[in-house]
């Protein structure tokens, strides 16, 4: 059972640094002030406790030394809980916990902000998350931790497809993908089966080309039947095999379409953004932009969608062009015309 204890003016409930804190206090009546020093400035801070407020919670829950001096200012009544008693009390009252959670979260933010301030002085800029994310990616790339770098550049392109570092992020991704595909499968550059039939270079190329073409059209056929996953796998293989630049470019566009059809909007945006950088003259560029815009819209990012729909109109000013019509219609639906 929690104990009720009376304190006189000037009494110390606990001292800062007192070890193995295991009590939680609830101010019932009177006046208590918490005294401590700001970590950064050393400034003395006094926080009065409000009636009905708990104190000593963090130290007791975390089993840490007390963080402040708790001093009684006038005749005061305090209820003292053990940790299990406190847990029992708040366990049935989610409202108290949520309130404390928000206070703790705010305090944690404050420490993080102070930490960031110090780091900022040492060349760290938390105010620009876009540049920050890119820099973290560069760190992992520089240290040859490719999976981490790939993840970050991929996310960068998802969040900032037209960001200042988008081109660099896309080319970093391309380089890493090429490196990893050659490293993972030594036979990746060979087209299995067909290629081994002939030893004459020209014939090999043509045969490989026709095999690639066949695979590509099979994939397109799968798309028309709604078998997006199958199509995706085939197209991905065409890209990885890197046997025919023409079909690689074509496949790249179709992969983006598959991702869109499979509702993988983040990946769709990311994929098309890389495609734009790899194939700046791709014949399906406006359509790719349309998929990017549409993906943003479906993810609830209407501002981004508007940017891309507008970009399509500037790229394809011809009002009779289907993609121009689609973009105009989408903008109208967004209430932006």
């Amino acid at each position: 059972m929690p104990k009720t204890v009376q304190y006189r003016d000037g009494a110390v409930i606990y001292f800062q640094g007192e070890n193995a804190a295991d009590k939680i206090y609830l101010l019932q009546s009177g006046n208590v002030t918490l005294h401590y020093q700001d970590i950064e400035t050393g400034e003395h801070i006094s926080d009065p406790v409000q009636s009905g407020e708990f104190f000593g919670v963090k130290a007791a829950l975390g089993r840490y030394p007390e963080e402040e001096n708790a001093i009684v200012v006038r005749e005061t009544t305090i209820m003292i809980f053990s940790v299990p008693e406190f847990e029992q009390l708040v366990g049935s009252n989610i409202r108290i916990i949520m309130k404390m959670l928000k206070i703790f979260s705010k305090q944690l933010r404050r420490v993080h902000r102070q930490t960031a301030n110090i780091m900022e002085k040492e060349g760290y800029d938390p105010k620009n998350p876009e540049q920050g994310l890119f820099n973290v990616g560069e760190y992992y790339l520089k240290n040859k931790r490719f999976p981490q770098a790939q993840y970050i550049f991929g996310r960068y392109l998802t969040y900032y497809p037209s960001g200042v570092n988008a081109g660099k992020a896309a080319s970093n991704l391309q380089i890493m993908r090429t490196e990893s595909s050659t490293a993972d499968s030594p036979a990746a550059t060979e087209v299995p089966g067909v290629k081994r039939k002939s030893s004459i270079g020209q014939v090999v190329a043509e045969e490989a080309g026709s095999a690639t073409a066949k695979a590509y059209y099979d994939a397109v056929s799968c798309i028309s039947q709604g078998k997006f996953q199958d199509a995706f796998m085939t197209l991905k293989k065409i890209l990885d095999d890197a046997a025919d630049p023409e079909y690689m470019a074509k496949s790249s566009f179709e992969i983006g379409r598959c991702l869109f059809m499979m509702n993988k909007f983040d990946e769709c945006i990311q994929h098309f953004t890389i495609m734009l950088t790899s194939y700046p003259k791709h014949p399906n560029l406006p359509d790719a932009l349309f998929f990017i815009a549409n993906s943003h819209e479906l993810r609830g990012k209407k501002d981004m969608a508007e940017v891309f729909y507008t970009k399509i109109l500037s790229m394809v000013p011809d009002g009779d062009n289907p993609v121009n019509k689609k973009a105009k219609k989408a903008l109208t639906a967004l209430g932006k015309t």
Binding site: I39, T41, A59, L61, T115, P129
Partner: protein
């Protein structure tokens, strides 16, 4: 797990697995999910310039990513799977459902916050020291505070840490940290092994750090 958080079976559809080294999220990403570790360990790091600083290594039953949910802000650290990690991934809406329906989880989160607040403050205290030597010494003091079941009747302390680890905690370059540690070794205040670092007199470090800290006030 079951004793702490009894009714999670309804959340099994939120289970996700990450392979060792796989990134769960990166610092600066917009955050819309928080995680509850079921199996494996997760490392929280921050990249500052050329240095990757370890903030924490989280164990099963611990949560992370909740700050972005509570405060709608970008991720403040990067989370990487150390082992094969199994997590439950919740979005903002599920967070409210989870918390209001499970006081035990809310209480657990409250405890996590208490611990994390204390740890963050302690790590921040290291950074407030301007002198790099004092920072390094304070890292050892912090690690010492976290050691349990050790003989505190002597002044000698052993740490299962590498120079890289120490550099991470002190938020400085490995080269700089190595130089300072080598200097401590030359002064015979420390011994450096492949798998451990020995501080010969921890109280000497404690006096050194508190003398530097006092100048701040």
């Amino acid at each position: 797990m079951a004793t702490l958080i009894p009714d999670l079976s309804m959340f099994s559809r939120f289970a996700r697995t990450f392979q060792p080294g796989e990134m769960i999220f990166s610092e600066f990403e917009p955050g819309d999910a928080f995680y509850l570790i079921q199996e494996g360990r997760v490392e929280l790091v921050k990249v500052i310039g050329d240095v990757e600083k370890t903030l924490d290594i989280l164990q099963p039953n611990e949560m992370f990513g909740e700050m972005a949910i509570l405060e709608n802000s970008p991720r403040s650290a990067t989370a990487i799977a150390l082992d094969t990690v199994l997590v439950l991934e919740f979005n903002r809406k599920n967070f409210d459902i989870l918390i209001s329906g499970n006081p035990q989880i809310a209480l657990k989160l409250l405890k996590t916050f208490a611990k994390r607040l204390y740890d963050s403050k302690r790590k921040f205290m290291i950074l407030t020291l301007e002198e790099p030597e004092a920072r390094i010494a304070d890292v050892f003091l912090m690690l010492e505070e976290g050691q349990t079941d050790i003989d505190r009747t002597t002044d000698r302390r052993e740490f299962q840490a590498t120079v890289d680890d120490i550099a991470h905690w002190a938020a400085m370059g490995v080269a700089e940290a190595r130089e300072i540690i080598t200097h401590f070794v030359a002064q015979r205040r420390m011994e450096l092994f492949n798998d451990k670092i020995v501080v010969k007199n921890i109280n000497d470090f404690s006096r050194f750090v508190s003398s530097r800290r006092r100048q701040l006030v």
